[in-house]
């Protein structure tokens, strides 16, 4: 089945993450009729065209940025594509790019969603993000929301949401899963036991 939707709702980063290692053609269709086609194989873009072939990497990156901002639809059809010896753009270059200051509003988390610091992950951060992380680190070590961080640091909630999203993109923070991160071993055992007992009711 196809992967499709609207770029009003999805960021290109999300789409490429879902496509992952699949092979096929991703079509980005702008309302004005311009169609950008990306041939994808082995986690890379092997060919790109916009009425004519796009050959320069810089042009390809620019076009992806433009189409990502426009009101386009997307559709990925899986299938075999020609695989040249070398991809001309790796998907990871788009997905895991350095956390610059441009953030997709579509990706911003809810102000109250709690994020947790991934301590083991070492990553070079731009100065402003490094400064934010330094100030918020103790809160993020146990789980903190943009709303709380903004209050404690005296910054706007939206600014905190942007910073958290940038940190998330480089996997330095991740949304907490409270049932894993907050329950102790004994509480988890109690729940598991209860879950198993009542699960049998639904197996009948």
């Amino acid at each position: 089945m196809a992967i499709y939707g609207s770029l009003n709702e999805f960021s290109l980063r999300d789409i490429l993450t879902v496509i992952g290692g699949k092979s096929g053609v991703l079509t980005l269709d702008q309302q004005d009729g311009q169609i950008l086609r990306l041939h994808i194989a082995e986690s890379g873009v092997t060919r790109m065209s916009l009425e004519r072939p796009v050959q320069a990497r810089s042009e390809a990156i620019m076009l992806l940025r433009i189409f990502n901002q426009e009101r386009s639809t997307f559709r990925f059809e899986a299938g075999d594509v020609d695989v040249p010896r070398q991809s001309f753009l790796r998907l990871s270059e788009v997905i895991e790019s350095r956390p610059d200051t441009t953030i997709d509003e579509r990706d911003l988390p809810h102000p109250k969603t709690l994020f947790l610091l991934i301590k083991a992950r070492q990553v070079a951060l731009p100065p402003d993000l490094d400064e934010f992380l330094g100030a918020a680190e103790s809160m993020l070590a146990t789980g903190a929301s943009a709303e709380r961080i903004a209050r404690e640091l005296g910054i706007a909630v939206n600014q905190a949401r942007h910073h958290l999203q940038r940190l998330r993109q480089v996997k330095k923070v991740w949304p907490m899963q409270a049932h894993v991160d907050q329950l102790d071993h004994h509480q988890r055992q109690q729940r598991r036991s209860l879950g198993q007992r009542i699960a049998s009711f639904f197996a009948r």
């Binding site: 089945m1 196809a2 992967i3 499709y4 939707g5 609207s6 009003n8 709702e9 999805f10 999300d14 993450t17 879902v18 992952g20 579509r106 988390p109 809810h110 109250k112 969603t113 709690l114 994020f115 789980g143 929301s145 949304p175 907490m176 899963q177 409270a178 049932h179 907050q182 329950l183 509480q187 729940r191 598991r192 209860l194 879950g195 198993q196 007992r197 009542i198 699960a199 009711f201 639904f202 197996a203």
Partner: protein
């Protein structure tokens, strides 16, 4: 008898009310109103749906949350103390996925609830996203996403069983 709580959430039109109606042993309390926004259906849940199942040792209360963002204060109220969460997502409405992910991350980061994604409308649409793509979008392992038909009691029970086995 201590009641246990299960929450069924998801964006508008995912099948939450139908899911609860298909498995509840009691008449479902629904707070449906005529929709004041263009959301693709005439009625929508504005506060909660409520049904229950007698498990013998416990009562299982099943709450459905409203799907619209303006009722998001209800997500916290209904998730408080819940044992688990089933997030229903219609496979053929990808524009609702970001909202579903936002609700899911909001709830599971704030409340210690185990959860699964129930992918609905897989039987109705040949043009929906499949389980593995939806799992990739939500950043979850594939076994945490399963196809669910909210109108089919057996399918709804399987989803609850799947969730409870994860706890």
């Amino acid at each position: 008898m201590t009641p246990l709580k299960l929450v069924v959430s998801g964006p508008v039109g995912a099948g939450k009310t139908t899911f609860i109606r298909s498995i509840s042993q009691t008449e479902v309390v629904s707070t449906e109103e005529v929709s004041s926004e263009e959301i693709g259906k005439t009625h929508t849940t504005v506060a909660l749906d409520f049904g229950q199942i007698d498990l013998g040792e416990h009562l299982l209360h099943i709450f459905g949350t409203p799907g619209q963002t303006r009722f998001d204060y209800m997500w916290d109220i209904l998730s408080e103390g819940a044992l688990g969460l089933i997030m229903l997502v219609p496979c053929d409405a990808p524009d609702e996925f970001p909202q579903a992910r936002r609700i899911l991350e909001y709830v599971v980061s704030r409340h210690p609830v185990e959860f699964i994604i129930g992918l609905t409308r897989t039987d109705l649409s040949a043009n929906g996203w499949d389980v593995s793509d939806v799992a990739a979008y939500f950043g979850l392992p594939e076994h945490q996403v399963l196809a669910v038909d909210p109108q089919d009691a057996a399918s709804a029970r399987r989803a609850i069983h799947h969730l409870l086995q994860r706890i």
